[in-house]
Symmetry: C2
Subunit: 338 residues, 2 copies
């Protein structure tokens, strides 16, 4: 049974054996040409500005910032931090590891040496960046136009994606698998009375890749035709970005990470707009406020927002205390006392 998970590699389910055994562990401290690999650190560095989610890109917005993990780095995360600081001139607050990829199939060349990509999600404020390098901010919806549902489901889903996926499903001869293909499409893209689930960003990308509807698939597999809009990236960077988006969308629901993207003072509407930008959908204003306040995530600064339209809003700041208080995560087990 194939599984889809935010964290899953595309797991081909063949059962080939290899000579891999845990017994011969002794002689592995020497780097042989067979085992030697290189590791890249890849960053999904996120900011929000003007109510849009941005990511840092390089090479004319065609790649995520990445660089080799080097001997000088004491640890992976420090390697990444050092690199981001060199880019931005400032330390970033929040960094978490995303996923480690090593899929030769994705690079085209089957004889290529193993190259591992260790990807990270980083959150920062755009204001902290100094420009001028080849690095720039790009909206992540440039790469995933089907992910922005703030103004309703984008037209391209009904117009392009759904029909193409239906055709892709139909092209499978086995009728059970055919049904399964369409079911998967319907679930991930919210078709056929299924609700849209913003957390499935990675699954959607994987599906479009499998159906050969995006440039990366055509490039890697040599078949199909890229018909779905959205800017591609080098190597599997767009896949890594999808992983980051999915992770962040899941995380903002149970951890106060949005504040990493906010200025020190903000109104509740600004906060809401940031959340909406990340989630790609709108939230209920009054209930959003109730949620924020009841969780005691913020406190009033006393000041009032200037130069606004409509009734001026109070300014809030993040209550630093919660980071220490809240190791507590929501338990969904019906615990017993005794």
């Amino acid at each position: 049974m194939r599984r889809y998970d935010v964290n899953s590699e595309s797991a081909h389910w063949d059962h080939q054996r290899s000579g891999f055994s845990n017994v011969d562990k002794k002689a592995q401290n020497t780097v042989t040409s067979m085992d030697a690999i290189t590791a890249d650190l890849v960053a999904v560095l996120v900011a929000v500005s003007d109510g849009n989610p941005k990511i840092m890109t390089i090479a004319h917005a065609s790649a995520l910032p990445s660089g080799p993990f080097q001997f000088a780095h004491r640890s992976l995360q420090m390697g990444l931090r050092a690199w981001v600081e060199a880019q931005t001139g400032r330390p970033i607050g929040y960094v978490e590891q995303l996923y480690t990829f090593a899929d030769r199939g994705r690079t085209g060349d089957p004889d290529a040496p193993h190259r591992i990509s260790i990807s990270y999600l980083g959150l920062t404020r755009e204001e902290l960046m100094h420009h001028g390098s080849e690095a720039q901010w790009s909206s992540w919806y440039d790469y995933f136009p089907w992910e922005d549902h703030r103004a309703g489901a984008p037209a391209l889903i009904a117009k392009t994606i759904a029909p193409k996926l239906r055709a892709w499903a139909k092209s499978e001869v086995n009728s059970a698998l055919q049904k399964q293909r369409w079911r998967r499409a319907a679930i991930t893209f919210g078709l056929d009375s299924h609700d849209w689930n913003e957390e499935l960003a990675l699954q959607r990308y994987e599906l479009l890749y499998e159906a050969s509807l995006i440039p990366e698939a055509v490039r890697d597999k040599g078949d199909g035709e890229p018909v779905v809009p959205g800017r591609a990236m080098t190597a599997d960077h767009r896949r890594i970005l999808a992983t980051g988006i999915a992770r962040l969308r899941a995380k903002i629901k149970y951890r106060p990470v949005v504040f990493e993207l906010m200025p020190a003072d903000f109104t509740l509407l600004q906060l809401q707009r940031s959340v909406e930008a990340l989630a790609g959908r709108l939230v209920h204003k009054q209930n959003f406020r109730r949620l924020i306040e009841q969780q005691e995530l913020v406190e009033e600064t006393g000041a009032i927002a200037a130069d606004t339209i409509g009734r001026p809003a109070k300014l809030f700041r993040f209550r630093q205390g919660v980071l220490a208080e809240r190791a507590v995560i929501g338990s969904k087990l019906p615990l017993s006392r005794s």
Copy 2:
């Protein structure tokens, strides 16, 4: 501000710069002696039997199964799958990546070549294993005796851990940091009116390591005295195990992964016992059943459990359908319709 997260590396917060830049990406396809590293795959392979959580270990239960990632492997996950199949004689169902570590500080030798550990969590049924190799099953509470709260908080927390952590906090001269140390101890170990949170397994291990109360810390750092019971492991394997435990404890709450550990047919009590074994705490029986049934995770087989004490229980099986239906994860955002 230091953060604690299930996924965080122990992040030393110094701001050293390095020569790491994303500009010199071109010449990186050749493996130089500086950049060359080796990658190990490490598996936290979990089963439940006799109501206890087991992990597969090697080397007389002192290490997690691990082996080098080799050229023959098409992808990381396939390398791991191949390896586990060779060990168990059967494919495993559920595999997910845990974390990638590369912390030289933990190996003792500061000049050691970079060695990356890519760890995975795998779930299986003990019955599927063939024995006879150096591999064996061990209860994970042998390594983390303070994690089992099924019979109430273990005595060693109040008797040994809490006093030692208090002393560790006191040994800090800066009074603010001193307070912070104790606060952290209290939160992670459920002291001072804080509730026990079973998901903080990794944070607890990290704390004991920092406080030099376990053998690994003494081995790596050369100070302190290991006073807390619990079997140690080679390298940072116990840390990886803690990561796996934390991940699994979090995951059983929102994904139906427990069933990977169950036989085909089971009673609801058996299911409950498995969850309790993993979570390390007891759950409310009636509410647990309501939760399971309301989510339509299981269906009756029609049969009835034999050879039991008390009223015989119906047998259930996992409804395979849910894996296809439930891409849906709980949304905690107050979404709006319009």
